[in-house]
Amino acid sequence: MIEESFLPLITWMVSLLAVPAILLLRRTPNAREMATFVAAFAKFALVAVMVPMILDGRVLRFSFGEILPGIPLEFRVDGLGILFALVASSLWILTTLYAVGYMRGLKEHDQTRFFACFAVSISATIGVAFAGNLFTLYLFYEVLSLSTYPLVTHHGDKEARSGGRTYLSHLLGTSVAFVLPAMIYCWVRSGGDMSFTDGGFLAGKIGAGDGMIVLLALTLGFAKSGLMPFHSWLPNAMVAPTPVSALLHAVAVVKVGVFCVIRVFTGVFGTDFLGELDVATAVSWIAAFTVITSSLIALSQDNLKRRLAFSTIGQLGYIVLGVSLLSPLGVTGSILHIAMHAFGKITLFFCAGAIYVAMHKKYVSELVGIGRKMPITMAAFAIGSLSVIGLPVTGGLVSKWYLVMGTAESGQIALLVVFLVSSILNACYFLPIVYRAFLCRPEESLYDGGRQEAPLACLVPLCITAALSVFSFFNPNLLLKLAGLMTGVE
């Protein structure tokens, strides 16, 4: 049931309206941050208002009017979109709080630019989440790439520049070289209609050979999903300040990538049609390869943020893998994993940033014994790790459960092995950090003296996200229901 509504527009606009406010209030940091907070809360509230409507089975639609023949610029809020918007907008509040603590703690330069770009990025993320057709999706995808560039290169030094160069060249290059022609091909083939529909707008309009090429072009072209040949922007983007890494590279940017992939599978082709074409296996194997390889690389990383980055690549592989199984359970698992991994990974990034703010440590080898110095942070880190590995009592278990079930449902036993091996690898690269932080012998510990946590503004958000991880284990119903709207799984 589609109904016209201004809610998606307002939700999208809120953070955009914050930008002039942020720029005008640049001389009074407190008021400036207040503007960000007001926008963040307003955005979250608006998304929350929409949730019950969506749960009723309604779809909210807002159209700006046609921008290309047959293609309107339009928002269409469905279960998948609102779930992603919910995750992104809730974490924006926390990240803002955290960013204030982090940026002020380190006395960073150009904070106004930072917060302004942050707000634009969130708007673009919401735009992607609400996008009603492939063109709208692509538009906001590109806006996100450009608006995050100043954030990634915030430090402005040589490393940041080269990181930023990799970032943009990978994201823009793939989207222009692969997504653009594939999208136009879809447009030509589908006769001018590109709205996401349940069965996929391309269903029945394309052959297996072309379908394979278009699918691969779209999946790999949305390189924010970090699939293997085009993943290297992600570790390089870790030169960004930690709040950026946290929100953008644990939540917004990478999740936009996998969100786009899920849209391609469900909205462009439709899982049933892909099943008929029998072309999704290629994507499955690329994703499986990504999962295993990135986990192996993560094992060897000493820089904590880089290790987290490679872990992210692996987890994104899970999501793509799940949706490429084409089974309802697998797709549900993928959608859930967007949320679950977001909570877990943002906790981990917050912790990494907190350690950097408090101790100026960046490397895993420097964290021996830090558990006594920063117990709260490291406890949260432990919870985040559990969630990413997929162990109880964290939400990661729920989504992984669905993913594994999906594998079984589609009868891909080999991929089941991939999940298991990768989970073991995840454990291998996270648990030793936690173990040595808390349980090393006193003489090995690199730290002495009393507790010294990061500022409260950093500490509170990471506790909340850790709590969210645990909460989503005990009560994943809301997320499940929203995901179920797409897949039909109860």
Partner: protein, 507 residues
């Protein structure tokens, strides 16, 4: 009076040119004001013209210059014919000219020294020529108008430094060859058909079934060669980069967006109206495939040559060479969508080239440096200029919602429809190269910090009003208008495409 709009578009700047020359070299502001008023009036008529075309049933307006009635079914005098495509291109020409006049206000004095009045006169004559090219329906008149634009542009370019004079000389040689080839081609058409009116030539060829005659083929080849030379289609592009980059800033920023685009328009006109799609695209000729490959080479070569440049204006001129490849390729795709893309790209490329050239001129003026290194740290000292530049750059790369994205969209969809994947690949390749080129500059402008920005040369022409970017309003405003037009042409692409689609004769 409304029926005279198309003629008035031409007459305003023509009389303006005369008036400016009479005003003489001393009264600069009066000259400027005259040119401004004439072009403003011309712009208003051009917009009125668009409305008239929209309102008319047939979609094309005809106007007999001097009121010469037809005799025995043939046009005797010179006829103006304005369909939607022509109306839009004419509006583009006069609007770019109008905005450029505003831009020229403070620069003209220092760039032209005592030739200010001549500059305004020549510029208006150039606009008359360009508008005439677009509107005339007479093949020989088209030649004369091409030569009028060429002559004025030779003179305008030669107003620059001594290198400009040399480039202008080379342009004269190449331009004369091109125009003469065109003239020869018209001669052959006249031998076979006995008329010069484009529609009449077309109908005589149709009724007499002259298609198979070798003269027609020779005429077509000669005309095409002539037009390609004029539009700098690779490898006939040799004259363009030097001519446009050594020309005075106010001249280059005006000719670069217009000249090649108008010649692309002439090519479309000759292909679709004079010879007709049936003849041009008929399977009996091998040239279709060949020319698409030539345009692919043009796109790739232009992109590479631009990549190798360290001079900002030269780089932009090589990009024009690549963009010409876009349009020629699109026109030869033998498909409605490709032709539409080509037509739309005429408008969008004019907007973005104009924007980039204005931004580059401002940067060169402020920093006194025409190399890419001049951009270092400019986002801090000239935020507005760089915003304008970035909009143009994004459009060149082809990101939504700028017009460059949509013209790529139409061109690529045309190529996909006929299955010409190599052309698609060339377009994407050029997008990627443009991304490299422009992000190299933007990165430099965004990060680099230089000391002593304050001590850079101020405009030599007295003390113009100084604002945010330490650039006179009269320069900043045109840039922002151009940047705005890049976005507007993009956002309203569907409207424009709808109008243009109606203008394409059925294939």
């Amino acid at each position: 009076m409304t029926e005279h709009f198309s003629a008035l578009i031409l007459l305003m700047p023509l009389f303006g040119a005369l008036l400016v020359t009479l005003l003489g070299r001393e009264r600069r502001t009066a000259c400027w004001l005259t040119a401004l008023v004439c072009l403003a009036a011309s712009s208003a008529f051009a917009i009125g013209n668009i409305c008239q075309v929209l309102a008319s049933k047939s979609g094309d307006l005809r106007y007999r210059m001097g009121g010469w009635q037809e005799s025995a079914g043939y046009e005797v005098g010179i006829e103006l014919r304005v369909d939607m495509l022509a109306a839009l291109v004419v509006a583009m020409v006069v609007l770019v000219g109008f905005v450029n006049i505003i831009f020229a206000k403070t620069r003209v004095g220092s760039e032209m020294k005592d030739k200010v009045a001549f500059f305004y006169a020549l510029k208006q004559l150039l606009i008359v020529g360009l508008c005439g090219i677009v509107m005339t329906n007479d093949a020989f008149n088209l030649y004369v108008l091409i030569e009028i634009t060429s002559l004025t542009s030779y003179a305008l370019i030669a107003m620059g430094n001594r290198r400009a004079a040399l480039s202008s000389f080379n342009y004269i040689i190449m331009g004369t060859i091109g125009a003469s080839f065109y003239l020869l081609g018209v001669g052959y058409l006249y031998i076979k058909t006995g008329t010069l009116n484009i529609d009449d030539i077309s109908s005589v060829m149709q009724s007499g079934d002259l298609w198979a005659h070798p003269s027609i083929m020779i005429a077509f080849v000669l005309i095409m060669l002539g037009i390609w030379t004029k539009m700098a289609f690779f490898p006939l592009h040799g004259w363009l980069p030097n001519a446009y980059s050594y020309a005075p800033g106010v001249v280059g920023s005006f000719m670069a967006p217009l000249m090649t685009k108008v010649m692309v328009y002439v090519m479309l006109r000759v292909m679709l109206w004079l010879f007709g799609g049936e003849y041009v695209y008929s399977s009996g000729h091998i040239w279709g495939e060949l020319i698409i490959w030539m345009s692919i080479i043009a796109i790739i070569a232009g992109s590479f040559l631009a990549l190798a440049c360290t001079d900002i204006k030269k780089m932009l001129t090589y990009l024009i060479v690549a963009e010409v490849g876009y349009m020629v390729g699109g026109a030869w795709l033998m498909d409605g969508a490709g032709i539409l893309g080509s037509m739309y790209h005429i408008l969008s490329d004019a907007a973005m080239t104009f924007c980039l050239f204005l931004a580059a001129s401002i940067v060169i003026l402020r920093t006194g440096d025409h190399r890419l290194t001049a951009f270092t740290g400019l986002f801090r000292s000239m935020p507005l200029t760089m915003t304008g530049f970035t909009v143009g750059a994004l459009s060149m790369i082809g990101l939504p919602p700028t017009c460059g994205f949509f013209s790529k969209w139409y061109l690529i969809s045309g190529a996909i429809e006929v299955g010409h994947w190599s052309y698609v690949a060339a377009l994407l390749f050029s997008s990627l190269v443009n991304a490299v080129i422009f992000f190299r500059i933007i990165e430099r402008a965004y990060f680099g910090r230089i000391e002593g920005v304050e001590s850079l040369p101020v405009d030599a022409d007295g003390s113009p009003p100084v604002v945010l970017d330490r650039v006179p309003y009269s320069m900043l405003l045109p840039l922002l208008m151009a940047a705005g037009s890049v976005l507007l042409v993009g956002i309203y692409n569907e409207v424009l495409a709808g109008w243009l689609r109606a203008a394409i004769p059925s294939l």
